[in-house]
């Protein structure tokens, strides 16, 4: 056996061998994972988007949201949202105790926080449908991505804002 090997501890040699084996395995597996989830280059935008999917899941279709100062709880329902189509939403508004809110004044705004622009249209709450339900017309999203939609509610002088996150 060569004397060179006698000088270096066998533990060190075994450790180096195992390390290189691990390196090979991680390279193969890592590549596979990366290409399975993200075919194109991972930009900052895209990694943020993944975070926002998680945020958006909380506000996905048909789910409710509490207003900023906990005064209202709002549920929304949208017809199937297609990029670039005018469509309607129906929202249901309750107070913190679950009592329906009737005949409130509600305005709508929103936009894409990452792009710094607002909604492409000026949606309005056009009708009180009874039972705490309101018809929102003129909704449109003209590009995919992370959108927020906010409802500013004034019910007999009690005011608050509810914001939904959507990932389209």
């Amino acid at each position: 056996m060569p004397t060179f090997f006698n000088r270096i501890s066998t533990r060190l040699i075994i450790a180096t061998f195992l390390l290189s084996l691990m390196f090979g395995v991680v390279t193969i597996v890592g590549h596979e994972i990366l290409f399975a989830t993200q075919g194109s280059m991972m930009t900052i935008n895209q990694s943020l988007s993944i975070l926002h999917v998680l945020v958006a899941l909380a506000g996905a279709v048909g789910i409710s949201q509490t207003s900023e100062q906990n005064r209202f709880r709002v549920f929304y329902q949208a017809e199937a949202i297609q990029i670039n189509s005018m469509h309607e939403w129906t929202i249901h508004v309750e107070d913190a105790n679950g009592q329906i809110i009737e005949n409130a004044q509600i305005t709508v705004d929103g936009g894409m926080p990452q792009h710094g622009h607002g909604l492409p249209t000026a949606p309005q709450v056009t009708e009180y449908l009874g039972d705490g339900n309101y018809r929102v017309e003129g909704m449109k999203f003209q590009m995919p991505g992370w959108w927020i939609v906010s409802f500013h509610i004034n019910a007999d002088g009690v005011e608050d804002v509810v914001t939904f996150n959507l990932n389209l």
């Binding site: 194109s40 280059m41 895209q46 990029i83 249209t121």
Partner: protein, 422 residues
């Protein structure tokens, strides 16, 4: 134990090499493997995702084939002008994707904007760079009476219809009124004599003439709704990708694939150039430089006010729509910084060879366009939506290579693409 160890140690360099060879043998997948989310984006751009045209509530004749045949004849007829030699087809040349290849439009005078392609325009809720018209039929009524485009007036045109198109017109729209007592030229136009003659006409006479004018527009819309793009090499590629065909790899070069990846990813093009026509038909300020020698152009800020006040919009008496059918007009944005110097992105289908580009033809070539997006200069007014992309020259070339794959013929029989005999 020591014997095994010594064997292991002497063999380990070989094992190391074997592991590394294995690692490099598992090279990245072929250059065009697309993730699920990217495949969804590709499907959105694919021509197979283009929904059939919905009926236009404001034009009851929009899908009438006889109206389309009449509309085609009117589109190519140069008599509808003050000089007798300007037709819609003069600037909207069928052989150039229905545009003219010049920075500004040249009718009886010169316009202050780039002629837009008509192919696929039927899908847009707004027409013109600033969206100042909300239907194809009302759009057609603009140039016909514009002093720099056709330069004529609606009473002149009504007489031409009565003299040369009576049968075709009446078979679609019903009997023409008697026009014999009406002046030869009259209309709410800049030309002083015609304007004076119009002011002297009774309301009933004005309405009779305007109704004919409106129907001319509606016939032209029926024709223009037929002008749709066919499938391009890009669409063949996406179709192969969607079906998981390995042949996809031969349809696009690696550079074209790289360009497409940039388009839907890092270069942010898909933000505005989305959907099967590669435009969202909405208004965006992209910091396009002001054209020298032209007055300030505020884009959508002005266009929004114009369409709301337009004589022929969806809510007007000439529209066939019920008020409930005019959502785009009812819920449009009317003010705000976002509208300042914002313009509508044209469809990128057939963009190659369709220069010059932007609303007054500011960029000669696609290379200049891409350079502009890469640099993202600030806007002359309002706020540009662009951010500098920092793409390398190679990446810009790849984007250009991709854009060239969007070329396709118009999906229509040749007889519809030229003037027929009367």
């Amino acid at each position: 134990m020591k014997r095994y160890l010594s064997k292991l140690i002497s063999v380990s360099p070989l094992l190391l090499v074997a592991v590394m060879v294995l690692a490099s043998a598992c090279t990245p997948p072929p250059h065009d493997v697309w993730s699920d989310s990217d495949t969804d984006l590709l499907r959105g751009l694919w021509i197979g995702s283009l929904e059939p045209l919905a009926p236009n509530p404001s034009n009851q004749y929009a899908d009438d084939p006889r109206a389309a045949a009449l509309g085609k004849a009117l589109f190519f007829d140069t008599r509808f002008s003050s000089t007798g030699d300007v037709a819609c087809a003069t600037c909207h040349l069928p052989e150039r994707m229905f545009q003219d290849g010049t920075a500004l439009g040249h009718g009886v005078g010169i316009t202050n904007r780039r002629t837009m392609t008509v192919v696929g325009a039927a899908y847009s809720p707004w027409l013109f760079w600033d969206g100042r018209k909300d239907s194809l039929w009302s759009q057609a009524l603009g140039p016909w009476e514009s002093p720099v485009e056709h330069g004529g007036n609606r009473t002149q045109y009504a007489h031409i219809i009565a003299e040369h198109y009576r049968t075709e017109y009446e078979s679609v729209f019903g009997p023409l009124p008697d026009l014999t007592s009406l002046p030869a030229e009259a209309g709410p136009v800049e030309e002083v004599q015609a304007a004076a003659a119009w002011a002297e006409m009774s309301q009933a006479d004005q309405d009779a003439v305007t109704e004919i004018y409106v129907n001319m527009g509606k016939a032209v819309e029926a024709y223009e709704r037929l002008l749709l793009p066919g499938a391009s090499r890009f669409d063949a590629y996406v179709e192969a990708v969607l079906q998981g065909e390995p042949a996809a790899e031969t349809l696009f070069t690696p550079d074209e694939v790289a360009g497409l990846r940039l388009f839907i990813g890092e270069a942010n093009c898909i933000r505005c150039h989305n959907g099967p026509l590669l435009t969202d038909n909405d208004f965006h300020n992209t910091g396009v430089p002001a054209a020298a020698d032209l007055s300030d152009d505020m884009g959508r800020t002005q266009g929004a006010q114009q369409v709301v006040n337009d004589e022929f919009n969806c809510l007007s008496q000439w529209s066939d729509a019920a008020p409930d059918d005019c959502d785009e007009l009812a819920y449009m944005l009317l003010e705000g910084e976002a509208l300042m110097r914002a313009f509508k992105p044209p469809s990128l289908r057939n963009v190659d060879g369709r220069g010059p580009f932007m609303h007054a033809g500011q960029f000669e070539s696609l290379e200049e366009v891409l350079e502009h997006y890469n640099r993202a200069p600030s806007a002359p007014a309002g706020h540009s939506e662009l951010e500098p992309l920092n793409l390398t020259p190679l990446q810009l070339e790849q984007l250009l290579a991709f854009l060239k794959t969007l070329t396709s013929p118009i999906n229509l029989e040749a007889v519809w693409l030229s003037s027929g005999s009367e």
